[in-house]
Symmetry: C2
Subunit: 471 residues, 2 copies
């Protein structure tokens, strides 16, 4: 049965069932996404304050065949938070469920509502000398429910894993309105199917997350950072294993940076302090976080020495102060700003088996050169196999001149990624943007199983229709 | 439609579709489980050598409505590997899919077939100076497919997670015969629903795992062990956080041991060297694994000093040699043998929120004392909240005398566990043994969602019928 647009009658019906505070005036922000690719045409904005109210809304929506678009902080990059097309949906926002319910430092656990802002979760963890490691650029406005629904990644995945690995339990309202009380704080629980991980990463298509139990960690006592010039991407990957042979999980971050990043930074942000006079072809930013009494400088020196002897590293700097650590990290953190200044034609959020990264880099550049001449900025979380592989016009040309090549660029990058066993969405998800990519690249049996699960849990397809799976 | 028993006609049909080597003679081992609780009445033993052959078998079984019982190493403790009851099943064994296909130390990845023995995986990892951390008593015969199907736990969960967290990708044949080629080596991949984690822990009821990509780790360079006498279970948990403040993820194991364990060890294994002359009420075995150049003794001394000043620890020993480390660990590793010597009335594989462990211990003892007088041996992976809480007769009485109390004992322990937010199956799973427990304790919405998913992926209910969900 096709879904119907939400009407005044629906609004009146819901007003009889819900407190007035649930009804909020919609603003344009709810109908846009950060990159402006999707535009919503309206909606009934509902901001419930509890799982019980969410349940009331979803039971009603299910009975009336209304589309429901879950809304967290609105920071997703694949259009998962904005409906486009004819049917006007309920926009179901977590903005009134923002409580940090419990902080349990003795358990390394925090229990939060879905609307809690990621930055507020960080602050609450730090207040008890703990770390919640999920960290990403949008942390000041992203809400944890959205982070979990999209299995967010970010800077600390190498050491602590993505959102999935940081979640112990969930409270979720299913599309049919039943509430799953799965807010466990357990580390081990083998009692049936793993609904938690099924919900995480389902981008609001299988249910609405209302609360979560999160895992906290000890703050690393001693931190240190080195900027190392590596011989090649292969050498970078060997360096990662060498560093782990020294300090194991003490490797907190391992980011690769291509010369193009330095060139763009010089051009876009000339005041920024860069570590090397000559821009190295490939370099790595290596962060260690070790236990109390550890000497991070000595550990970095030992790694540097071994790596130099092994012919992996040809130059390098170890930060001698917190100020220098900040300077090193400022280089990495300002690359996206420099990229925006230059203006990418096409950006790609891909991941690869670690061993396939060098071959990807060798193949992708020449393949793109057959389309036109570009500048390529390749950088990112190489320790996770996650590259930002962004394509720019050469100096003097504009992205607009390459508009007609975008689809071809994307297809070229994604085809090579897929051929090498990689993923065309490492951390951003599918949303509405990559539905066709999923159909093109996903294993047919996976698609079949996903459709069967979607139908089983959301028989009328009301939850975030058009996201992940085509309606 | 009810399932039918496998017959000579089915065997003949399958013989036309499969090589002769797939057909194996069944032995009694396939119809028993380690504790002798379940007895199978027969079956057609099939040992395919590839996912394609598994697919042929499941397509046929699905068309003919034959029950299929997946079989790995046969070491599960909840009867998941043995069908009981009228219908004679196909027993689908992974024993001919034992290849270690790829070992990739530069990626910290190993790709194995489902029938690979856990110990062989350890050996292959060690050969390239890596660690595959999943470790359990049955590692010499357990097969990785079964470990993944049951989300096995064991000794190293505190640091490295359970089987779920050590798996990057899977190849699985669905009950309807389609092969999901999900053998990715990716660390980050947000392309749709998390089928991997849905299959892991589903105990063979949603598909048959044929291969897996596993994550490897660096071997910790420096290891050290301390045996510390703690004031109470609360103090033990505070000690864990204190140790993590010192060395973070460097805490490799954190096992609690009650005085009863030492008493049983003295009685059952009088030749065993025990660390303390007087048996302490509560003690903790703390293991550190740190990076190269680290001084584990200094780290343990610093932890001991801080913990003593904080009033958590009253006595302790730090192993001064590898031989002493082995002696310390021999105490922990011999507790199950001592327990078997004494003879438990009832054993429980429970987990609790860390903060609820002291209350559990305070409540469970007196509650059981209302049934009869027992000796309780409480020990285990307290860092994960996972306790082995085992109930024994007092000296001079036999377990047989308490047979009629077993159900009451189990119910008492499980009710208190559940009331405190715990799990009645921390690591062994549900199998056939705990189906009633699941029905009693699981969230109703979780059961509803699980049944919907089972029907969606296995519409005729052929895969491991009676496991997890009642048929």
């Amino acid at each position: 049965m096709p879904l119907v647009s939400v009407s005044d009658r629906h609004r009146d019906d819901l007003a009889e069932r819900l407190p007035a505070a649930v009804f909020r005036d919609i603003t344009p922000a709810y109908l846009e996404e950060p990159r402006g690719r999707y535009k919503g045409e309206g909606g009934l904005l509902l901001a419930p304050s509890s799982a019980a109210e969410v349940s009331t809304i979803l039971r009603y929506a299910n009975a009336e065949k209304l589309a429901v678009v879950p809304y967290g902080g609105g920071t997703g990059l694949v259009g998962g938070q904005v409906a486009e097309g004819g049917t006007i949906p309920i926009i179901l926002s977590s903005e009134r469920m923002t409580a940090i319910r419990e902080v349990l430092p003795n358990e390394n656990v925090m229990v939060v509502e879905a609307g809690a802002i990621l930055q507020d979760i960080h602050t609450a963890a730090e207040a008890v000398d703990r770390l919640f490691p999920l960290s990403l650029a949008a942390k000041g406005s992203a809400r944890i429910g959205g982070n979990l629904a999209t299995n967010a990644g970010g800077l600390n995945v190498l050491r602590y894993g993505n959102a999935r690995r940081l979640c112990l339990g969930l409270e979720v309202v299913l599309p049919t309105g039943e509430v799953w009380h799965g807010l466990t704080r357990l580390r081990k629980d083998n009692t049936g199917y793993d609904l938690r991980d099924l919900m995480i990463g389902s981008e609001g298509t299988l249910g609405f997350i209302t609360a979560a139990a999160l895992e906290l960690f000890a703050q690393p006592a001693e931190q240190g950072t080195a900027f190392l010039v590596v011989e090649s991407p292969v050498a970078a990957l060997q360096l990662l294993q060498l560093a782990r042979d020294h300090v194991g999980e003490g490797v907190s971050a391992f980011e690769i940076i291509h010369r193009q990043s330095f060139d763009f930074l010089s051009e876009a942000l000339p005041q920024l302090r860069l570590p090397f006079t000559a821009h190295p072809e490939w370099s790595v930013l290596l962060d260690l976080g070790l236990g109390r009494g550890s000497d991070t400088t000595a550990a970095l020196e030992a790694i540097f020495l071994d790596a130099t002897e092994a012919g992996l590293v040809r130059d390098g700097l170890i930060a001698r102060s917190e100020a220098q650590r900040s300077d090193f990290w400022a280089v990495r953190e300002n690359i996206p700003a420099a990229n925006r200044h230059i203006g990418a034609i096409s950006s790609h959020d891909i991941s690869l088996p670690l061993g396939a990264i060098p071959e990807f880099i060798e193949r992708a550049g020449p393949a793109l050169a057959k389309i036109a001449t570009y500048r390529i900025n390749c950088f990112g979380h190489v320790g996770d196999g996650n590259l930002h592989y962004n394509v720019f016009p050469v100096a003097g040309r504009s992205r607009a001149e390459h508009e007609s090549e975008r689809a071809d660029i994307k297809r070229t990058v994604h085809d090579i990624t897929h051929a090498l066993g990689g993923s065309v969405s490492a951390e951003h998800g599918i949303g509405r943007l990559k539905v066709e990519d999923l159909e093109r690249y996903a294993d047919p049996t996976k698609l079949l199983a996903m459709r069967a699960i979607k139908s089983a849990l959301d028989p009328d397809g009301i939850m975030n229709p058009g996201v992940i799976l085509r309606t």
